[in-house]
Symmetry: none
Subunit: 532 residues, 2 copies
C-alpha cells in the first residue's frame, strides 16, 4: 500500500478565495484540526506577505503538532539580487517552521513577461533560494508554478527548472497546474516524465514528486489522481476545495478516492471517517455555508429523493450509493417528498428515533398528513424540523408551547414615501395571552420580531435563536400572484441549525407557518415540562 503524503494549503492558497478571511485565531484552530486529521504537511501562510501570517508563525512556535509538519510559503529570491538581502527569504527562515515551500517559475513565457529576467537568471534564483533554505537545515519543497503550461510550451526549460531545484537539494518538486487548464492526459504525460527523470535521485535520498491542481476545468481531483497513478507521492490541496476562482483541488474528495477507491494510504481509514466533520468545521470557521453538494461530505451526498431509488435503497444500499456513507463519517438521508411513499416516512422516523414511540395508527396519520400537506405545497425534504414537529403533533400527549390567536401585518407607503411594515401578534402560552407589536424591514421581519417579543418572557432560551436563511418559492407559476408559495426558513441557536417550511397561497401565511415552526422546534421538549 503506497503512502501518499497530504499537503494542506487551505490556510494559504485556500484563503485566496473571495469571501474567506481567516483571523490568526481561526488559523490556529484549523491548524490543530488538520493536525488531528493526520495530514502530513500544513502550509500555514506566507510570512513575507502580511503581518497576520507573520503573527501566526510566531504563535505556532509554541504550539507543538502531533502529526503534521508546518510549512511556510514564499517565493524564490528576486531577480539579480542576493539571497542574503532578500527580505522574503529572511522571513521564511524566521518563521521557524521545519518545512519551507518555495514557489518559482518554470514556464519560459512567465520568466520573460512577469519576471522580466533571463531564463538562466530564473534557474539561478531557484538554485540559490533552495540552497539558502537548505543551509538552515530546512526541508525544502519547490512549487513549480505553471509547470504544465511550461512543459507544454517549452518542455526542455520546464525540466531544467526541475533539475535546478533537485541539484540545489529540494526534498520535493511540486508540479503545479496553476491556471487549472490542463487535461488529464497532459498531466499524466508530464508527471510520468518527471518521475522517470527523478527516479535516480529518489533512490539515493528521500524525495517526492508532488501535484498541485486547480479546478478551472472541473478536473482538479481527476488530475491529482492521475498524477498519483503516474508516481506522484505528495498531494497538495485544500479542505472543501477552497481557493481562488473555482478553487483548489478538494482534499476531501482526493483523500476519500485515494483511500477508499484506490487503496493508497494517506491519513488512514479511521481518520477518513472524520472527513465530513472536518469539512463542516472548516466551512463554519470560514463563515461560509457548508456546500450541500460536496462529494462524499456534503449533506446531499447520500440523499435519496426519487421513490424508485428509495425502494431500491431499502432493498440494497449499494444500488444507489457508491459506498457506505459511514466510511467518510456522513449519513444516509432520505428526503420526504412527493416522489416517495410510506417507506420514506418510516425511514425518516427511524432516523429521528421516533418510530419506537409511534403506533402504526399514528404512522398512518403522519403519512396522510404529509400527503395532504405536500399536495398543498409543503415539502419536507429539506425541512426536517417541520417534519419532526408534524410527527410529535400526531402523538396524543403533545402540548404545543404556544398558540396563535390573532395577527395582522400592514405594509404601506404614503405620498410615494418609504415602505413601512408593522405587525401585531396575539398568542397564548399556557393560560396567559400576550399581545405585541413590532415593525420590521418587511412584513415577515415585522412578524418575526413581534413573535419574539411575545414569547421572550416565557422562553428566555429563544434569545440566541435567530433566522439564518429565508427562501421563497412560487409553486404553480401559472396562477401568478394567486399561486401557492412555499417558504423555507433556516434557524440556529448558535450550536445547531434546523429548517422549517410553510406553504399557502398567501405568502404571509406561508411565512408565518415556517416562522412558527422555527420557534416551536427548539421548545418542543421543554414546553411540556414548563406548562405542567
Amino acid at each position: 500500500m503506497r503512502q501518499i503524503k497530504i499537503y494542506d494549503t487551505t490556510l494559504r492558497d485556500g484563503s485566496q478565495m473571495e469571501g474567506i478571511s481567516f483571523s490568526v485565531e481561526d488559523k490556529l484552530k484549523l491548524t490543530r484540526r488538520l493536525d488531528e486529521l493526520g495530514v502530513h504537511y500544513i502550509e500555514g501562510g506566507w510570512p513575507g506577505s502580511n503581518p497576520k501570517d507573520a503573527e501566526y508563525f510566531e504563535r505556532m512556535k509554541n504550539i507543538p503538532l502531533k502529526n503534521a509538519k508546518l510549512a511556510a510559503f514564499g517565493s524564490t529570491r528576486r531577480a539579480y539580487a542576493s539571497v542574503e538581502e532578500d527580505l522574503n527569504l529572511r522571513m521564511l527562515i524566521e518563521a521557524g517552521t521545519p518545512v519551507i515551500t518555495l514557489v518559482g517559475k518554470s514556464w519560459d513565457m512567465q520568466v520573460h513577461v512577469v519576471l522580466g529576467c533571463s531564463l538562466e537568471e530564473n534557474l539561478a534564483m531557484i538554485k540559490d533560494s533552495i540552497a539558502f533554505c537548505k543551509s538552515y537545515g530546512k526541508e525544502v519543497f519547490f512549487d513549480a508554478e505553471h509547470f504544465f503550461d511550461g512543459y507544454k510550451n517549452n518542455p526542455d526549460y520546464a525540466m531544467r527548472c526541475i533539475h535546478a531545484a533537485i541539484e540545489a537539494g529540494a526534498d520535493a518538486v511540486v508540479l503545479c497546474d496553476t491556471n487549472g487548464g490542463r487535461m488529464p492526459e497532459e498531466i499524466a504525460q508530464a508527471v510520468e516524465k518527471v518521475v522517470e527523470e527523478t527516479r535516480a535521485i529518489a533512490a539515493t535520498r528521500p524525495f517526492d514528486v508532488g501535484i498541485h491542481t486547480h479546478n478551472d476545468s472541473e478536473l482538479a481531483v481527476a488530475n491529482t489522481l492521475i498524477a498519483v497513478q503516474k508516481g506522484a507521492t505528495q498531494v497538495q490541496g485544500t479542505i472543501n476545495g477552497y481557493g481562488e476562482r473555482i478553487g483548489n483541488a478538494n482534499l476531501c474528495s482526493i483523500i476519500a478516492n485515494l483511500e477508499l477507491k484506490y487503496g493508497y494510504h494517506t491519513i488512514g481509514r479511521e481518520k477518513v471517517k472524520e472527513l465530513t466533520s472536518v469539512s463542516r468545521y472548516f466551512a463554519e470557521v470560514a463563515n461560509m455555508a457548508h456546500d450541500e453538494r460536496l462529494p462524499y461530505v456534503g449533506a446531499k451526498a447520500f440523499t435519496h429523493k426519487a421513490g424508485l431509488h428509495v425502494n431500491a435503497v431499502a432493498k440494497s444500499a449499494e444500488t444507489y450509493e457508491h459506498l457506505p456513507p459511514e466510511l467518510v463519517g456522513n449519513t444516509r438521508r432520505v428526503t420526504i417528498s412527493e416522489l416517495g411513499g410510506r417507506s420514506n416516512v418510516l425511514m425518516k422516523m427511524a432516523q429521528f428515533g421516533l418510530e419506537a414511540h409511534t403506533s402504526s395508527e399514528q404512522v398512518r396519520q403522519v403519512l396522510e398528513e404529509v400527503k395532504r400537506l405536500e399536495k398543498e405545497g409543503f415539502q419536507f425534504e429539506d425541512a426536517e424540523a417541520s417534519f419532526e414537529l408534524l410527527v410529535l403533533r400526531a402523538q396524543p400527549d403533545y402540548e404545543p408551547p404556544f398558540r396563535l390567536l390573532d395577527f395582522m401585518v400592514v405594509s404601506e407607503s404614503r405620498n410615494g414615501g418609504e415602505f413601512l411594515s408593522e405587525a401585531t401578534v396575539k398568542i397564548k402560552v399556557g393560560n396567559e395571552v400576550m399581545h405585541t407589536a413590532a415593525d420590521g424591514d418587511g412584513p415577515v421581519n415585522a412578524l418575526d420580531r413581534a413573535m419574539r417579543k411575545a414569547l421572550a418572557p416565557f422562553y428566555p432560551e429563544l434569545d440566541p435563536v435567530h433566522l439564518t436563511d429565508y427562501k421563497v418559492r412560487v409553486l404553480d407559476n401559472e396562477s401568478g400572484t394567486a399561486a401557492t408559495v412555499r417558504v423555507w426558513i433556516q434557524s440556529t441557536d448558535g450550536k445547531s441549525t434546523w429548517n422549517t417550511v410553510g406553504s399557502s397561497t398567501n405568502i404571509i401565511e406561508a411565512s408565518w407557518l415556517a416562522l412558527a415552526d422555527s420557534l416551536e422546534y427548539p421548545l418542543r421538549s421543554i414546553s411540556k415540562r414548563r406548562l405542567r
Copy 2:
C-alpha cells in the same frame, strides 16, 4: 474533427435534484433554449411517471425544434409481462417524440435484488422493449444503468445486456455510472471494451456508444472526457451539473473542454460562447442562485483576488487564465455587475432598437442607473421589460402612464381563522386620482387587483393582461427575513409575454416594483398618445 453528440437530460435527470421543481412552462422555455444552443438531443421527461411530464410532451407536439431531437425517457417493460400491456411503454410511444431512451439493468446484482427476476428475463426485457419501440419507427437509446458497477462485478453479463440491446436494434447504448463511484481507469477500460465489441455494428449502421456519469467522486467530467477519448460519441449530462445527490456530469464544463481543449466538435465554437448565458438562464428558471464557482461559466471563473495575480494578469492574461473568458461568453471580473459594462448596455439597447433615440449622455445615465440597481439586487438578465422601461425613463419626454401616490396592504388572521389580505391603492393618471381597494389570495394578489381596478377606467387595453409567473429569491441569505429580496414577474396579454423585476428588503415593495413595471410596460407606447 470528431463529432460528439450532446444529450441533455436537465429536464429529466437534472430535475431529480432537491430544490428543483420545473413547471410545464419552465420546461418549454428550457427546451427552446437548449434547442437554440444546438444540443443534439433533449430528454424532456418521463411521460409515465407524472401528469406534468405527460402534459409537457403533449404540448411539445406543436412546438417544432430547429436543431435538437426530443427524447422521452422510460424503463424497459416489467418482468414477466408483455410489452403490449406495459402502460409505461405505451405512454412513451404516445409521447410522440422521435427518440425514446429506455433505461434497463446491466448489473446482475441489481437484477436479482431490485427486479427480483432471472438474468435471462432481464435480457428479454431489454430486447422486447427496444424492439417494441423500434417497431414504431423510433430512434431508440438504451441507458445501461449501473453499467460500470456491473462490468466490474460481472463483465460477461454486463456485455450480454449491451449485445441484447444492439440485437434488438438500439441506435445507441449509453453506459451509465449511476452511482458516480467509478474511477477514470475503470471507465476507460469498460468503454474501450464496448467500443471494440460494437465496432462491427457501427460500421454497418448509425450507432453510438454514449456515456452518462454522476459526480459523487468529483469525477463526472473527467470520466466523461476519458470515455470520449476511448471512443464514446454521445455524451449525456445536465446544464450546471444539476441532478440528484451531488449531481450529473456538468455539460457546460464538458462542452467547453471537448471543444476548446480537445478540439472535438459538439455544438460548435460560436455556440460555446452562449454557455455562460445558458448556465445563468437555467439557474434563473430553476429559481436557484447561479453558482459563482461553476468552472468556465461561474462569476468567479475569471476573477482575481491575490495582488500577485492581478499584477500578473495586467502583464499577460494567460498568466492566470487558462483561456480567454470570451470563448465561453464569460468576462474577466473587474466590475460588480453582469450588465454593468457600457458595451453590454449598448448591445442591449440595440437589441430593443432604442439606441437611435438615445444620446450618449442618456447612455451614461442608464449605465449608472443599472449599476445602482444591480447593487441593490435587481437583475435584468431575464427581465427585459424592466430594462426597456429604465431606458425609456431616461428619455426626457417620457411620460409615465400612471404614478403611485399611496398604498397599504393588510394581512391578518383573527381567532385562528382564515388569512385575509386587503390592499388599498391611490394612483394618479394625468390629472385624475383614483383610490381603490381589493382583497386577494395574498398581499401581492390584493395589490395586483387594486391596481387593475384603478387603471381599468383609463386603460381598457389592460383587461387581457395578467400575471403568468411570480418568483421570489432571497439574495443575502445570511440576514434572514431582513434580507434583500428579488421578485420576478412574467405577464402576458395573450399574444406576447414580458418579464419584470423588483428588489427591496421589503418583499411587498419588491413585488410592487415588479408589478408596476408589468402594468406600465404594455402602456409604454400608448400613454403619451392618450395623455396629450
